[in-house]
């Protein structure tokens, strides 16, 4: 009754293969960075996991907006699934960044705008999950979740801006360089290939996880319905 759809199976396969390729590129194809050495290889998955998290939170805010205007349960499930994926990848982003920062900055943690903003984002979406857990009524839970996903998402850029005005040492690899940055580098073409391939791989990973999470939610709903049916019979 609940067989895995064919498209999802294909997606699983494509994602696994491209993940394997991405690992190969990161470890063997991309050149060793001259100053930082092998630890720089974290960069590819570090940025890619931030990318997934950002996709997830943006997706959740949009899905929240759609839910509020259309009121179909599906969009609430998309928002929840997106945020759960986002929370996990924000965590990966912070931890991998920490592992990189130890040799590059000689500390696990500094109060840099990106680091602090990532942490605040994580806390916002923990709060989102706690808010949902505190509400039993399905409709109300979805509405409050949507409102908080939007409010939280809007506050993030202002947070980033206000902490950025204090000082930053985080390297800016893409876009304008930061003269105060420590541990920055210029990407060679091989690095660029690896980097963009990692981004694509992680985007696929996001889509796959989101789909699985949505399926899980729907199966859970069905189980719940069956349970009620048996109990009432």
């Amino acid at each position: 009754m609940n067989r895995v759809p064919k498209t999802l199976k294909t997606l699983n396969r494509i994602t696994s293969i491209s993940f394997a390729v991405a690992l190969y590129l990161v470890f063997f194809y991309a050149p060793r960075e001259a100053i930082m050495g092998d630890v720089q290889r974290i960069f590819y998955f570090h940025v890619a996991s931030f990318w997934v998290a950002a996709l997830g939170f943006l997706g959740a805010a949009i899905a929240g907006g759609i839910y509020l205007s259309r009121r179909t349960r599906k969009w609430d499930q998309v928002a929840l699934a997106s945020i759960e994926v986002g929370v996990v990848f924000t965590f990966i982003n912070i931890v991998s960044g920490s592992i990189w920062a130890r040799p590059a900055w000689n500390t696990w943690w500094t109060w840099d705008p990106r680091l602090v903003t990532a942490t605040i984002v994580e806390l916002i979406y923990f709060a989102y999950i706690m808010l949902r857990q505190g509400i039993e009524d399905l409709d109300r839970r979805a509405r409050f979740g949507a409102v908080y996903a939007i409010v939280g998402f809007i506050s993030v850029p202002i947070t980033f801006l206000s902490i950025r005005y204090l000082r930053t040492i985080h390297p800016v690899v893409i876009g304008s360089a930061n003269p105060n940055a420590e541990g920055g580098f210029d990407m060679t073409s091989r690095m660029r290939v690896t980097f963009f391939f990692s981004l694509i791989t992680f985007s696929l990973l996001y889509a796959t996880l989101l789909w699985h999470r949505l399926r899980l939610e729907r199966i859970g709903e069905k189980v719940q319905a069956l349970k009620m049916k048996i109990l009432s019979a």
Binding site: S155, L161, S162
Partner: protein
Amino acid sequence: MGQAPVTPSRRHAAKAYLRALGAVLWKDVAAELRSRELVGAMLIFGFLVILIFNFALSLDARTRGTVTAGVLWVTFAFSGTLGLNRSMAIEKERGCFDGLLLAPVDRSAIYFGKVLGNLLFMLIVELLVIPLYSILYNINLFIPELFLVILLGSIGYTVVGTLLSSMAVQARTRDLLLPILLFPVVLPLLIAAVNASKGILQGFERSEIMFWLNILIVYDIIFTAVGFMAFDYVVEE
């Protein structure tokens, strides 16, 4: 001449809106005047927070200069959550909120009425904490610019706080939930308010202070709009 004509019915609608808003505000003020629970509790709590800071940070003359702004805003934020929680809890307790929602007025009038009430109580507490702090630490806090920062900070805080507390109060975990929902969202406001206050107290350059004031203003505008639009979805049943 070039103005859009204001039809009587439209003027009437605006008047009715303001009347509804004023009624909600007046209800909160009247309840507070009779019970005198909220402001007193917020004030004593705020005083306790300052007292704890006094010993935790050993606020001697040297450290005081740099941490005063931070201590003040932590005090305001903590006593603010106390007020927000209480103001929504009393609505929920005996079903007053459902009564309010039954009234044939625009929901946003109820929201802004509650916001103004919360803002008023917060400002009263702040206006009492400031002289207290000035006397205790022999530091002059009566600077007009500082009051502007406090006003802007409190507006943003209550605008977001009222929206989120009206959600938190309907959850199982209630008052436990509000600070967890509120603080990460309100953080940029607090950063801006602390830095603007610090700049004013230590006589920083005007451009430096203006940056933080701009953030406060932008935050207030954005979240007033968000609250105005989102409140409808929070209270509809």
